[in-house]
């Protein structure tokens, strides 16, 4: 399914944006939305069709050096995000 080299992007037609009113990033899609917690947002903001999952993990480790098992969290979250259809791979 996914590995360190997989490059993901927000699914076309979906949109990730900061909402002042909710003080959160939200993912918008046809007739629906989901409010993201800060770690989910940090990951999804980097699913830009350019970075590999490994790139994302390395970046997040630099930004959040105190989080243990960060790579595992990223993979687990992205598996859910793929299943829900929030992100996909262009290949």
């Amino acid at each position: 399914m996914i590995d360190a080299t997989t490059i993901l992007r927000i699914r076309p037609g979906f949109r990730l944006q900061w909402e002042d009113a909710q003080q959160a990033h939200i993912l918008l899609y046809p007739e629906g939305m989901v409010k993201l917690n800060p770690s989910a947002a940090a990951i999804l903001l980097r699913c830009d069709g350019l970075r590999s999952i490994d790139d994302i993990v390395v970046e997040l480790k630099t930004e959040f050096p105190d989080v243990s098992d960060l790579a595992n969290d990223v993979y687990e979250f992205l598996a859910v995000a793929i299943e829900k259809g929030w992100v996909d791979s262009e290949r």
Binding site: P12, R15, Q17, I26, L28, P30, E31
Partner: protein
């Protein structure tokens, strides 16, 4: 703001959704339309482009982020492109909910350029003959062309088919039809009984057998085509034994604005008598959302009667749909009679048990709207 009001104030959620019903004009005549049966009275009083822009701005300031352009047929409005561009600039996710009539490939391209996020096209059936008969016009081939153009222009493709007694047995053909159009999402939305659908309910509601069959076929299709196309199947409320939250909770999420500028907690709420319906020309949306009697009356659980009042599920469904309670019992504060705990559940069961058409379908058009008003059968 002080005292009790201030405490109340803390609990008022921010709206997330604005439904802009741009017009009640529509080339189609679907007998299950959710618009009010007396819509003909509102045809000449549509908000102007500038008035809509003000509504969009105010709702966005309140926190709304999903914007649905609906109707009637929103494509009838020639300023649709302007309003889409304006809504998108404000940061809305913009949804166009259309029959496909009034769309053209050029318009789809123009809407895309202005930032429209998503187009939902409705079909009445998967066969040309039934589609055109139910919609009351020769729309089928045009809808197919528009669905293909939506896909070709890189939108997520959402097909909506309203289900009822006359098309629900074609569910397999409908699903394969959606697949042939490469739909990303398919909404198989059983008719809910408001507006014209309420007038026609005896002749629309599917039987238990029809519904069970449709669900089984849908489940089988999902299993065979997992991941390709997302299929939503919405069961009619009448077949549930617990009610649904009214617009995700009255005054918690949703603002609907009618073509003439009335502001409602859901698009059907005008059927409930006894309220001054707030209007965008008289009040700000903020005042309407926070202060108006209409939006406050059924917020939370204080208004409830038994069996809701002492029910341990009252925060889950908030007593169900107020419009449905009123339409079926005459009392908008009653428990939604869809609920098995309602003593009036039998009024729903009676409807569900009736099989086979009793009366001809009343199509949604101006002539029938005038007739319903004249005969006093309208539910506003």
């Amino acid at each position: 703001m002080n005292g009790d009001n201030a405490a109340n104030d803390q609990q008022v959620a921010i709206p997330r959704w604005l439904l802009a019903e741009l017009t009640y004009r529509c080339p189609q005549q679907c007998p299950y339309c959710s618009n009010p049966t007396d819509y003909v009275n509102q045809l000449d009083s549509e908000l102007s482009t500038d008035e809509w822009k003000r509504v969009l701005t105010e709702a966005r300031q309140l926190g709304a982020v999903q914007l649905g352009f609906s109707g009637g047929e929103p494509c009838v409005r020639q300023d649709l492109e302007q309003l889409v561009a304006y809504g998108r600039q404000l940061g809305y996710y913009t949804n166009l909910i259309t029959s496909g009539m009034g769309l053209s490939e050029q318009r789809i391209i123009a809407l895309k350029a202005r930032g429209l996020d998503h187009i939902q096209i409705s079909f009445e059936a998967s066969s040309e003959q039934l589609n055109n008969r139910l919609g009351g016009c020769d729309s089928f081939q045009h809808k197919i062309a528009m669905a293909r153009a939506v896909k070709a222009n890189g939108y997520p493709m959402v097909l909506n088919i309203v289900l009822h007694r006359h098309n629900i047995d074609d569910i397999e053909a409908i699903l394969h039809f959606a697949k042939s159009l490469e739909a990303d999402f398919v909404e198989l939305a059983n008719t809910q009984y408001y507006g014209w659908a309420f007038t026609n309910r005896d002749n629309l509601i599917p039987s238990q057998r029809q519904l069970a069959n449709a669900e089984a076929v849908t489940d089988r299709f999902r299993a065979q085509h997992a991941g390709k196309m997302k299929v939503y199947f919405v069961v009619p409320d009448y077949y549930e034994d617990r009610p649904k939250r009214c617009a995700n909770g009255w005054g918690t999420t949703f603002i609907a604005v009618t073509p003439s500028g009335e502001v409602l907690p859901c698009q059907n709420a005008k059927v409930i008598p006894g309220f001054d319906i707030p209007h965008v020309s008289q009040h700000s949306l903020e005042w309407i959302w926070r202060e108006s009697m209409l939006f406050n009356h059924y917020r939370g659980t204080d208004w409830m009667q038994e069996p809701c009042r002492s029910c341990d599920e009252k925060w889950q469904d908030l007593g169900g749909c107020r419009c449905q309670a009123f339409l079926l019992t005459g009392d908008a504060s009653a428990t939604d009679p869809v609920c098995a705990k309602s003593t009036r559940r039998s009024t729903v069961i009676r409807l569900v048990d009736e099989e086979g058409p009793q009366t001809p379908l009343v199509f949604r058009n101006s002539q029938n709207s005038r007739a319903l008003i004249k005969n006093g059968r309208e539910f506003k």
